[in-house]
Amino acid sequence: MVSDIFYFLVFPGLLFSGIAGGLLAWFDRKVTARVQFRKGPPVLQPFYDFFKLLLVKETILPKQGSPILFLLAPVFSVTGAVLSAVFILLPLFNITTGFRGDIIVIFYLLTIPSFSYITGSLASGNPLAAVGGSREMKLIMSYELTFLLVVAGIILKSGGQTDLYSIILTQQATSSYIGSISGVMLFIAGIFCLQAKMAIVPFDMPEAEAEITEGIFIEYSGAAYALIKLSKYIMLLALPSLIAAMLMGGFRFEGINIVWSILKIPVIVLLLTLIRNTNPRIKIKQAVSFFLVWMNLLAVGAIVLIFFGL
């Protein structure tokens, strides 16, 4: 019981994933700045932003709409993000939870932040937030099937194992799944799902800054917005960790392997950032057809290849 609380609040949970996610958010902003030939913010910038919003700014409640739901939504999103981070990072750090089928639970936990953003935006009573919320709904409907197919492909590839720890062990005993053709196809589909799940640039229609001015987060200020920022930082750690665990063989903690293990997460974040910086935002219709047709075809093709053992 005490160890569960420790897991949730300190080590792979709130404190650790908040700090590591904040550093990754800085990495993302720094790489963006370097791509645009700028200097970029200091290392602690995400933490300054977070503490400023949490401690200094006033939280304004919407006049129309439901203030309670509006304030609960960020709490739910942080809870969902931390829970998924715990379930992903525990097997990654070679701590077995003895929980069979946790990959299915992770799949559902990862949708909680998106759903709470939608609830919060619809509870704020702002028309632009409602536009953002409806876009986020369409985005979820389009990428969830692809993400489910990626997870199904991993389960098939590991011979029907449904817990992340034995999937990692299987890969460490033989070879990482990304070394095969089907693994590469699943990786591509997975990277685009990550992009859509975190709503970063090719798929950032829910919070399109230029047209609907931050969309789903338009009414959030102060501490509530700080919690949303925190859940974004945590998702920036949790989702690349999931890809590293499912496809790249997780972490190994002996000798020089530590360096390669830790480098996997920044490399995936770097890939996401480069895609984000070299692409414009696409329309929601294009995103739906991109996922429902092309990415699903890619994932189904990967599953067919897995049946032939490639």
């Binding site: 700045a33 030939f37 913010p41 932003d49 503490f51 200094v56 700014k57 931050e214 200020s221």
Partner: protein
């Protein structure tokens, strides 16, 4: 100077309100965010929603239509908010001070924390003004 104030100073998010501007100040403000000057190294970001803003940049002369909107925007902002008047029109009314549609410089409408004069002020002047504002504290 406490921890709160330090975090606030290191992460100022800016919302830009353009009054009846000739667009010259707008362009100079955007220049501050380009690679040459890069205000993001001080943690300054341009945000789209007033609910996220810490600094309200106002430029251009404020006419009778802008007046209502400026007061509305100021009331919607989460406090503490710093207001910066940019350019000759924002600070004093400049060329338009005698116009019949003019509704007073920015400090007649909302309280102003810093003035950056110039027609338009150079990006360096805007950065110097913001640095002075940050050093003054709240």
């Amino acid at each position: 100077m406490g921890f709160k104030n330090y975090c606030f100073r290191k992460s100022l998010w800016v919302f830009h309100f353009g009054g009846a501007s000739c667009n010259n100040c707008d362009i100079e403000i955007l220049d501050c965010l380009t690679p040459r000057h890069d205000l993001e190294r001080f943690g300054i970001l341009l945000v789209g929603s007033i609910r996220h803003a810490d600094v309200l940049l106002v430029n251009g002369s404020i006419n009778k239509h802008d007046r209502e909107r400026l007061v509305e925007i100021y009331n919607q902002a989460p406090k503490p908010i710093l207001v910066v008047a940019i350019g000759a029109c924002g600070c004093t009314g400049g060329l338009f001070a005698d116009s019949i549609t003019f509704a007073g410089p920015v400090d007649k409408v909302i309280p102003v924390d810093a003035y950056i004069p110039g027609c338009p002020p150079k990006p360096e002047a805007i950065i110097a003004g913001i640095v002075k504002l940050v050093k003054k504290g709240r």
